[in-house]
Amino acid sequence: MSKLTLAIPSKGRLMEQTTEMFARTGLVVRKVGHARGYRGEIDGLPDVDVAYVSSSEIAEALKAGSIHLGITGEDLIRENISDADTRIGFVHKLGFGFADVVVAVPDCWIDVATVADLEEIAMPFRRLHGRWPRVATKYMNLTRRFFASKGFGDYRIIESAGATEGAPAAGTAELIVDITTSGETLRANGLRVLNDGVILRSQANLFASKVAAWSPALQSVCDQIAANLAKSVPQPANSK
């Protein structure tokens, strides 16, 4: 039978934590061939092909259905897949890779604490500076959806490729939408999260692609992995 493809992050903390987590569940993931290669397997599960892929490409591959399972952050799934709930199954929350996607403004904006305040300053800002406030972010879709849900539309998105936190001080944007774990980087850059500015509390998940080619046999392999995870990575009671 054809194999089940499981994609796991190819580098960084996310890769290490994924490997550790699988080990704790009794599933030993090892690389096949060269240590710097990008293929792997799981001991005792011969029907699983492991692919080491970058986190954002995992989201794309799940969306396209070219892999069955993948481990990546919910932020990347929500950002890159407009119909995530129909294409993607949330199999298991993994309890690491925590990151909040937040709206942050310069701390010196003592007149701004909520999105409603942003709305109030947008028009005077435009009068004085000749443009809408700019939001630097790599999360263009999450940003747009979040502000739309708050009825706020008077801003412009500036796509940011990296070091987003530096944009306000550098004068290339007025505020940012970015991920934060402890808030330390934001503080170091003179930024503060709005009171109602948490867009998404993200963590690493095991996701299933609903548009991949599934067979009953592959489904049972998936169930087996999920069952192993359930034993050693309990889900928070309020998880959806």
Binding site: D107, F147, A148
Partner: protein
């Protein structure tokens, strides 16, 4: 319908020619603005929500472009390019493709790529006359293509502002309500919240500092804010200046002095927004509301009545016309009259034509002044479907 066969294409072309001949006979000059447009103007006018329904992309030079989501903004830009004084009166008509992203996938009534035929009038100082002429011309063009079962729905965003004047509101409340009106989903809640005194301050600025700020002494107020930042070791970063922040805080302080929204006024506004009636009787209903208000005024209604009379004069059968006070709130750039033409066979989700007054658009597109502007566009594929349905 799609026009991927020659026969369908031909039928649509023929219909478009009929529409355009009505427009050009009414002295509208045929123009063909470009399909590729700078995304800037659209993003400024419609906001970032544009990205949710438009094909926006970056070209190899890094310029942000879009496939035009309508032909109104492109026609504005064309007018600005031609005339040093944007208030120069002009009439344009056009037909061409427009493009919109459909999040749930395209369907027959909501294709990604569709055609619009429309008219735009700029620089007319006789407002109601221009509006009635645009409505009548569009209806006449639609009838010429063979559709008989149309109905017309009117709204008036300017009238809401007038009602606020009538209710005797302070400028602050007027502005808040004007903004809230454009967010229909939250409007009822906002109205309720405004009328109760629950808007506690959410800022961490100390009360004493806030109440020490004075518009009459900006320099001292600014110095006080500067000192506060310094004391708390908050660095001033970014493009907003100390004076930007101070001025907004002064506004916040003034807003806190303001009493909650008067409950009579809230009630009046709530009842106005609920009005949906045949165009003939809507005027009387609004008049009734206004007479019961603290300071009654007929001014708000004059332009409504004049417009209705002009429509009747232009041969519009008023029995087919309804007025809905809340209609038009979600439509991007309109500022006064809004209208849509519906066909019985297509239902309310698929109007065959929409239009209205949009006096602020020309300025957003680069003009130095507001320019009176009225226009409308016909969704030609829908019109085709409606006329075919009517004849079969």
């Amino acid at each position: 319908m799609t026009t991927e066969t020659t026969r369908d294409f031909g039928a649509l072309e023929k219909q478009t020619q009929t529409l355009m001949s009505v427009f050009t006979k009414a002295s509208y000059e045929a123009v063909a603005p470009t399909i590729l447009q700078p995304a800037d103007v659209f993003l400024d006018v419609i906001g970032e929500s544009l990205r949710a329904r438009t094909y926006v992309f970056t070209d190899l030079d890094g310029a942000e472009l879009c496939l035009r989501p309508d032909l109104t903004v492109p026609t504005c830009r064309l007018h600005l390019a031609r005339h040093a004084d944007p208030r120069t009166p002009a009439r344009y008509c056009y037909s061409g493709a427009a493009f919109r992203f459909q999040p749930q996938g395209a369907d027959a009534a909501h294709p990604r790529e569709f055609h619009q035929a429309g008219i735009e009038r700029y620089g007319d100082t006789e407002r109601e006359a221009a509006e009635a002429e645009v409505v009548a011309t569009v209806v006449r063009a639609i009838e010429k293509t063979g559709l008989k079962d149309w109905s017309l729905r009117l709204g008036d965003l300017g009238l809401f502002s007038s009602i606020l004047d009538v209710a005797g509101l302070s400028p602050l409340w007027k502005k808040r309500l004007d903004d809230a009106f454009l967010r229909p989903l939250a409007f009822r809640d906002s109205l309720k919240a405004f009328a109760s005194d629950t808007d506690a301050t959410r800022l961490r600025v100390p009360d004493t500092l806030l109440s020490s700020l004075k518009r009459s002494d900006l320099a001292a107020s600014e110095a006080a804010i500067g000192a506060y930042l310094e004391e708390n070791a908050i660095e001033l970063i970014g493009t907003r200046t100390l004076s930007d922040i101070t001025e907004h805080l002064i506004g916040v302080a003034e807003g806190r002095e303001e009493k909650p929204l008067d409950s009579t006024a809230a009630d009046l506004i709530g009842r106005y927004v609920g009005i949906t009636a045949p165009a003939r009787t809507a005027g009387a209903k609004i008049a009734e509301l206004i007479n019961g208000a603290p300071s009654g005024s007929a001014a708000a209604l004059e332009s409504y009545d004049r417009r209705i009379a002009l429509l009747a004069n232009a041969g519009i059968d008023l029995d087919r016309v309804t007025f809905a006070a809340e209609f038009g709130r979600t439509m991007a750039y309109y500022t006064g009259l809004v209208f849509e033409v519906r066909a019985k066979s297509l239902g309310p989700q698929s109007p065959i034509a929409t239009g209205g007054r949009y006096d602020g658009l020309m300025r957003a597109a680069g003009a130095s002044v507001d320019v009176p502007a009225v226009g409308a566009a016909i969704h030609t594929e829908r019109l085709m479907t409606a006329t075919l349905g009517a004849s079969s």
